[in-house]
Symmetry: C2
């Protein structure tokens, strides 16, 4: 399929994934994004990492009923070794159950061509439902930068523009430390890319050591949004969008700056404190 037009992907049937999860998975995800006795409050630990009165972090939608690294499948004809997760949007329609069977359906929504030298941007959407009740849990939308697939078709204009951040100082700043082994725990939630565990693979990818998963950084920032906007109540965070602008190294401190914008919306950005680098940019959140 490599020679064909990328827009053919829009016509593929949705990719379905069914998966069960339970409290062990829910706690493991929470530990993976730093809900531990060293990196979180005692209240957070008891809420998200202990089965009595357990609740699920909203950002866990990104790993539930996951199709895995689907772009590697031959039917998509994507130069998968050169893809980058560029943007993430998660909308929560209902709280995630602590256990159950979920089904997700993945759609390729749009492809934008930036030309042979630059690549293409692929927008995909995953709708996640409870398999038994049919309850709609979440919508997971992603933009993926296909660096090796430019000039293979797709729209050349009209790409959505991410919101920019307010010019004024932010209203809330939260610093959350990650740990040296954050990626080792996080990857057990399903993304076993060796880039996050193997020093050799990391070096050959141009990094001094294994980097944190972008979606782990996203989960840490999600905890900051919960604390800063929702008094820790996971049912109140209903949307979280951002761009991935640089990787975090495990052990760094992620500082999330939040601008309250009224009417249940907010802007945010996250920075790796030790290097002063923006890691999540143009963040947007909705909350109750």
């Amino acid at each position: 399929m490599t020679a064909t037009d990328l827009t053919a992907l829009l016509d593929l049937p949705p990719r379905e994934t069914v998966a069960r999860h339970g409290i062990r998975d829910v706690i493991l995800y929470a530990l993976g994004v730093g809900v531990t006795r060293e990196g979180a409050t005692s209240k957070e630990v008891l809420r998200f990492a202990y089965e009595k009165d357990l609740q699920v972090l909203p950002t866990m939608a990104t790993v539930l009923a996951s199709p895995g690294f689907w772009m590697r499948q031959p039917e998509y004809g994507i130069d998968w070794q050169r893809v980058l997760h560029a943007e993430q949007s998660t909308r929560l329609h209902n709280p995630i159950p602590v256990e159950g069977e979920l089904i997700s359906r993945l759609y390729v929504e749009e492809v934008f061509d930036k030309g042979p030298a630059k690549g293409a941007i692929l927008y995909s959407r995953r709708e996640i439902h409870c398999k038994t009740s049919g309850l709609h849990i979440a919508t997971d939308r992603r933009a993926t930068f296909l660096r090796g697939d430019g000039g293979r078709g797709g729209r050349t204009e009209g790409q959505p523009v991410a919101r920019s951040l307010p010019e004024r100082p932010c209203d809330v700043t939260l610093a959350l430390r990650t740990r040296q082994d954050q990626a080792l725990i996080y990857r057990l939630s399903g993304d076993y890319n060796p880039l996050h565990a193997d020093p050799e693979v990391a070096r050959s990818g141009g990094f001094e050591r294994p980097i944190l998963h972008g979606l782990c950084t996203y989960g840490v920032a999600g905890r900051a949004l919960l604390t800063g906007l929702c008094d820790g109540d996971p049912s109140r965070l209903t949307r979280m969008d951002c761009r991935f602008s640089a990787p975090v190294y495990p052990g760094e401190t992620i500082v999330t700056e939040i601008w309250r914008e009224g009417a249940g919306t907010a802007a945010f950005r996250a920075t790796a404190l030790e290097r002063g680098i923006t890691v999540l940019d143009r963040g947007y959140a909705e909350h109750a």
Copy 2:
């Protein structure tokens, strides 16, 4: 059954447990006993917490195909709220596979009565085999102190005496730090006793905060034996016995002292460094 003779337990049929495990479980166990970028060498992390060339820590036998807290089942008639894990012996007959289906059979081997005021000691044995090949993997023997079941029958003499430690200074000392959240990770390997996670339950049990699982401490000491006696090679550690003498608090440093005794045997003891308290006593190991 509470009124009957405890020796009736010897005649119960073996309790069978079948369970699958895979690389995620193997890595999670290793993280649970401290094989992380903060508490272990890079070599240990790549060997036990990363799926490429993954190997299994020998002490993981204690949680594989586990019957759970079987003493709580009514057919045993045990005052389960007053039991204490007193001694552990693990013998490895073959390396533990990184994935597969195991079957374990649990036998009550012997009961010793210490009188109504003191309680009883129950010896149990679990034989673990590969379900498909039949290969014998491990023998897990435990002594459990039944504080509420004294005077209910059982032998009154002949209880095995644990070896004592050499008088001379030890040959190797290894200090391994545990983390504040060590118990939170370890419990995902199957022992969800709230004593190890819930501050309130810990306080009502007489502890200032949640304590580490005895078998987690055992796993940390097992890593020390691997390093000190087996050059890190898990297939070379074939036996590890000890008494549990006091709990560790997560965050403390476990110092393992090892005496080489020649002919592939060794003695060991583990201490919680910060409080200077012996936590594993009268340890005995066999290695190749």
